[in-house]
Symmetry: C2
Subunit: 820 residues, 2 copies
């Protein structure tokens, strides 16, 4: 992935695209010298501040506080002065500038040749990594040399806290900016090295960042270190003659822990179940521990995991020092090895479309950066690539990202689900506050409490709870991790099933309804019987019932009795699905197909999108206009509830009304388009999803990447063209190869086995490349059960396509761009 | 109306109850000495400040500014020191204290005997008036005398701007408090008199207040005047011996005008119709003029109505000086005369229930204080009695207050409708912003722009537009004011009809629907086909069509063609009314009767009301729980659309689900209860409405009176027990006399004639007491057409009651208190 000086006007977008992360620590791809920037950012997963929020008209249970991500002290800053002139690519002459993100190795390389306004030329190279192998560690190797003649240089390597973040545009989706959110607690400098410790004022978190350096410079170079509350600066200055070089390797160690004194300590759990210990996984892995996850524990620290500022500083210094001892080359070698291992499972081969091949790998790279799965940790909607959505975790995680990670990095899926479990107390409290049963997870959060300030598209999106349950069920089915199911998984399933059972309503005709919720499509709100929600709730209820039956003892500890389980099953069996017989399509929600159509003739395709920035909710909600796949997503999640004919009719109906103003839309549209046989359209939807950020299709990439859309690329390929479905707890495939491709190959982990699927124009090849002949995986190919064993590829002909008929129309100007 | 020292712990409530106003200028009933207070307040109709509002998650067309009422400089403050001790009823000994509001004369009398902590006794008497005859004038006569022995007194009569207003409780219905909203522009003191001029910073308003005094005091009294930016203080000090008295009469003159430089000048109207001159009423009355209404012009001042600060000060000084020249006694005489005239039409006699007789007169008194109808001026929800709801105008005005004023003070109804018309430009702009047709009036406003910060219960309440149209039609029918109809009335009808026609949706079966609106019941939101809204929209469409046919030339100037009128009629004829055949009741909105019931068993009648402070909208919206009459109000507004059986069934069904968390609920419930024959229940609903503020039933009276509930008392009496209906442009009556009363008598103005209706246990008497035999009024008595002529009472037997069956149940604990 390469960007050059031509991309300098897209600096914020480039910073997101070049963001490095190991899932715990992230550095945006800011230029080493800090300027120009779109938005500086270095993030620790879960590090945030709480702040009060006001409403023009407040309401009961409107959240009174919100979390917003704050940058950790930035250790990636290496400023350069040539003479008296700062290196700034907006000044002087840029003779050459490129940055290359090495997707295979996880390294960001930079090469710049710059002539200062005063005529002095330098070459700057840097390589940056955020270590996949060492959670607290990031490092950068940076060097400068004269281009033509001698130069006087001054290099300032900063560790900078409370770096100014620009206010974002007037857009409801932008971030809250807090001023100086970090309070200095401790600092220490020791020669060229140093450490800063800060805490947040309200969220009860403490962060320590240590830097240590290796300097390789001419003897004429002077060194100075300055240490202030918010900045440690190492300054190297002196002349550089042709042939000479100044090289600096900086190793940074980050640590974060709760202070033990957040503003809002969690209240006691409202019922008797919360004190139950969670059954550990069979491998007995002790997760967390000292200096453990920032998340999931901040509000409820055990006494023994609250290091003092000095102790935390010591941990950060140790991490940095260990990295330095290992040396730069070792870090690079570790990084290559870690990524190589990850790519083995994750890579998807698209033979025939180099551009989208590259884009697909870019997408997967950012998913893989979720990285090491120690502790209870989740993945915010923007990952650690920017502060968009205030750094919040949304349903993107369980709805889009985990369905991929379950198959390419299942331990990370588990960590994310454990993170939800760690916040079950808050979810129970929220349900009690809402006067609902069970647990109600927050639509937006960092610290575990609801942060959504617009309840019709927040609190009312109860399907999130079923999305979490669905992710549990999928994870357990794909991994066989029964220990997880018996413990955290069961509790998540039970408490969400309780929510649905209490929320639902039995009508006179004996059917079970869920009135007054908001489904995935945010251009509708507070609807009755949203099909997606109802089907997901059904899955939730049945999954909880099955798990309770499978683990009766554990269920009993959660207070689950047989009658409760029977009630869940009865509700699940009676779930109502609104259907329009006249039109022969399902209704996204009750009455939907009778609503007025959107006035597409009066909507300017160039100027009026996204509609939410040009039309009031009053108009959006009451019309048949769909922001993002909703009924179509229901057909992906619950394919067995729709006949092939219904799928085709439903797809065509909703395709004509879906404007895709959300990056969450294309993946499901791609999958269903492929299923009903519109392969070109499916490919175009896939392209939109995978190019979401690389082409900044939503104009929001500068705030951070859309991880759900990137995950959607995999979903489009594997579930769309691979035809993979997993709703029945088994794998099934019905591959189709789009005309643009000669070959599509991908892998999935299934109960620890890597299943390789290769689709070519004539056949489908299933293999277990890492297994011996004694190992086998049962799956379905085009409706037929087959068993794939190690050592012997199982080859089947490519299934015949259904006759799809004419391609459905999209709203004017809203068909995804056609791939030539 | 009397309150004594026993009521000092209800000081804020008393201030609202004792508020004096002439509709343009209002003084809360604060104690003369200022302390203790619940909330100080002196208001000019329309005087407000604009301020920015923030949203946690902003949305398209969410208002970015709101108006909030600000107090005008307070000229009612007369502080007293006895020795060094300030008169404060919380200190010393209150030997006697009472205040009496003379409802007949419009005077607030006060008599206090107080012994200071140091043992010095004084008697203080005061009388206060806000002149109905002289719009800019308020006055107070105040005197102090020693009780037992000589005292040293210091009297400070203040004119005080930017008086501190306490922050209100954490309740979404409380007011925004701005600090020091008035900017001093000019001041002048001249002997004991003075004037202050201030302006608002953002709303572009200027206010001048002048005070002049008559002092009657012993020669030993020293006089001093101090004049600062925000305060003019006249100080009188000296000894008072037994038999001596210090008397001060203060005359205050208020003027207000636009500055010509508001922050947000109105943009050009989006279409060609806005520049059209409005046809004047046939009487050619020139409304407004120099120093004219604060409202309706603030944003669009003509050059010739922008007085300078000095000019405005001069107007205020003149008003005060003229009042002083007339003298205190003349002011009192004028006041008595003005109220006497108003009472002639307005009084309602309840023979048999002295308490509610008094309460009814209290309610009518506050409606009559709307007073002089010069200029374009409306009535905020709290009148000029407090800052609740930020001083906003809500649909309370057209929905509750104007249906009364139309019959007892029609000129004021006209002024309020002209005020709407004066803000038609903003309503057109708002509709364009919302991408709707015609005009969309603001749910909450002072200056004319939408100020609602929660759109599901604000912008979505489109019925407000039909309420305005309905008020136009009712006003014209009752007065025959064809000049108004041909001008402002037609334009209001046309633009609101355009809104409905554009907003509505034709379904396949040829019916016309209004999806996605919020009706009167705010415990439902964003519903389809709210019956109230649909019926009101139908009336709006037909009314506009009729008016356009009647005034084709004027309609043509508004761009109305025959096809448009035909479209309105077609839509009106096809309006859909959802009906539940199984239950035999109308659905408040589509699907309502299929929603889950409210869990009244799980709701604590003592602790859980109002529900909105204890349950989330998520729960309220999706259940069959009704905050306030909605379908029942529809049956009042549009009685011909329901059979008697439907009314009875509907009433019983909704009575059981209506919790009356809004003071707007009882009036309609009283009316329908009376119509279907449950007279005791009707009487209890009437009592709740009329006692809303006197007994502070909603715990919000301290913020100001609920004018709609007070108007609702008249509605309950005249439309409930009088059985008056006016939906067909004619008057009809079907009286019922509740068991508590021996006689009910009320008057209505109909085309300028006062119609007196007297209901006794056996008969109904219709009279035109002011008319000769040549004058007659046609009306309907119990379904029979009769003509009442001057000089000859028309007497009919009291109609027989239908057999009402058992009384409908109310939600547990929510039946209105039974009157013994």
């Amino acid at each position: 992935m390469r960007r050059t000086e031509a991309d300098l006007d897209r600096v914020a977008e480039t910073e997101s695209i070049f963001a490095l992360s190991n899932g715990w620590l992230g550095w945006r791809g800011n230029l080493d010298e800090g300027e120009p920037y779109g938005m500086p950012g270095s993030y620790l997963n879960g590090l945030h501040e709480r702040h009060g929020i006001d409403y023009p008209e407040d309401g009961y249970a409107f959240p009174q506080h919100s979390d917003t991500v704050v940058s950790a002290p930035n250790a990636a800053l290496i400023r350069l002065w040539v003479g008296d002139e700062p290196l700034d690519l907006r000044t002087g002459t840029v003779r050459h500038h490129e940055r290359v993100l090495d997707l295979r190795a996880g390294l960001l390389e930079r090469h710049t040749e710059w002539i200062s306004p005063g005529g002095h030329g330098v070459r700057v190279r840097s390589t940056r990594l955020v270590s996949l192998a060492r959670r607290p560690v990031a490092a950068v190797r940076w060097e400068v040399e004269p281009l033509d003649g001698p130069v006087q240089v001054r290099v300032c390597a900063d560790l900078l806290a409370n770096q100014r973040v620009p206010e974002r545009a007037d857009d409801p989706r932008a971030a809250t900016v807090l001023e100086d959110p970090l309070v200095a607690e401790y600092r220490r400098a020791d020669g060229a090295d140093g450490v800063l410790v800060h805490r947040t004022e309200h969220s009860g978190q403490r962060v320590a960042v240590a830097v240590t350096h290796l300097v390789d410079a001419p003897d004429t170079t002077a060194t100075d270190t300055d240490c202030a509350a918010d900045r440690i600066r190492l300054t190297l200055s002196g002349p550089l003659h042709p042939g000479q070089r100044l090289r600096l390797v900086r190793f940074a160690g980050y640590e974060c822990a709760p202070t033990g004194t957040p503003d809002q300590p969690a209240t006691d759990a409202p019922d008797g179940t919360s004190g139950q210990p969670v059954a550990e996984a069979p491998d007995g892995s002790a997760e967390g521990g000292p200096g453990g996850s920032v998340q999931g524990r901040a509000d409820r620290p055990a006494a023994d995991v609250v290091p003092t500022p000095v102790e935390l500083a010591g941990q950060a210094v140790t991490a940095a020092a260990e990295a330095r001892s290992a040396g730069w080359d070792a870090l690079v070698t570790e990084q290559r090895a870690a990524f190589a291992a990850a790519w083995t499972t994750a890579d998807v081969v698209l033979d025939g479309d180099p551009e989208l091949q590259q884009a697909t790998r870019f997408a997967l790279f950012h998913l893989l950066q979720a990285g090491r799965a120690d502790g209870d940790r989740t993945i915010p909607a923007k990952g650690l690539t920017g502060n968009g959505y205030d750094g919040h975790v949304l349903w993107d995680t369980e709805g889009y990202v985990l369905p991929v990670l379950t198959y390419v990095a299942p331990a990370m899926a588990r960590a994310a689900l454990r993170w939800r479990h760690a916040h079950l107390t808050e979810a129970r409290e929220r349900a009690a506050e809402l006067r609902l049963s069970g647990a109600s997870f927050p639509w937006r959060t960092i610290g575990g409490r609801e942060c959504s300030g617009y309840w019709p598209a927040g609190t009312a999106g109860l399907h999130l709870n079923a999305d979490i349950a669905d992710a549990v069920l999928r994870y357990v089915a794909a991994t066989g991790d029964d220990g997880f199911l018996a413990g955290a998984g069961l509790e998540l399933l039970v408490e969400t099933a309780r929510l649905w059972h209490g929320f639902g309503h039995w009508s006179d005709d004996g059917s079970f309804h869920l009135p007054g919720v908001t489904g995935p499509d945010e251009y509708s709100a507070l609807v009755d019987d949203n099909v997606f929600t109802n089907l997901m709730a059904r899955r939730n209820l049945r999954g909880a019932a099955d798990a309770a039956d499978a683990y009766p003892e554990q269920a009993a500890r959660l207070g689950v009795a047989a009658a409760e389980v029977a009630g869940w099953r009865a509700a699940a069996d009676a779930v109502h699905l609104p259907y329009d017989r006249k039109r022969g399509v399902h209704q996204q929600s009750a009455g939907f197909t009778g609503l007025p159509e959107w006035d597409f003739d009066g909507t300017d395709p160039e100027a009026d999108y996204p509609l939410l920035l040009h039309f009031p909710y009053l108009e959006l909600y009451r019309r048949q206009v769909v922001k993002q796949a909703d009924l179509v997503l229901a057909m992906l999640r619950s394919p067995g509830d729709f006949t092939a004919e219904e799928k085709a009719r439903n797809f065509a109906y909703y395709e004509a009304r879906t404007v895709r103003d959300s990056s969450l839309s294309s993946p499901a549209q791609a999958v269903l388009a492929a299923e009903v046989g519109h392969l070109d359209l499916a490919y175009d939807h896939f392209a939109e999803s995978v190019l979401q950020d690389l082409e900044d299709l939503g104009d929001k990439t500068g705030d951070g990447l859309h991880l759900a859309a990137l995950a959607g690329a995999w979903i489009a390929l594997v579930q769309g063209f691979g035809g993979m479905r997993d709703d029945r707890g088994e794998l099934s495939f019905a591959p189709r190869l789009p005309g643009r491709l000669n070959r599509l190959a991908f892998s999935l982990l299934w109960h620890g086995q890597r299943l390789q699927v290769t689709v070519t124009p004539d056949e489908v090849r299933y293999e277990l490349p890492d297994a011996g002949p004694e190992t086998g995986v049962d799956l379905w190919h085009d409706g037929t059960r087959i068993r794939v064993t190690g050592g012997a590829p199982c080859v089947r002909p490519l299934p015949a396509l259904p006759d799809p008929g004419p391609e459905p129309t999209a709203p004017p100007g809203r068909r995804p761009a056609r791939r030539a």
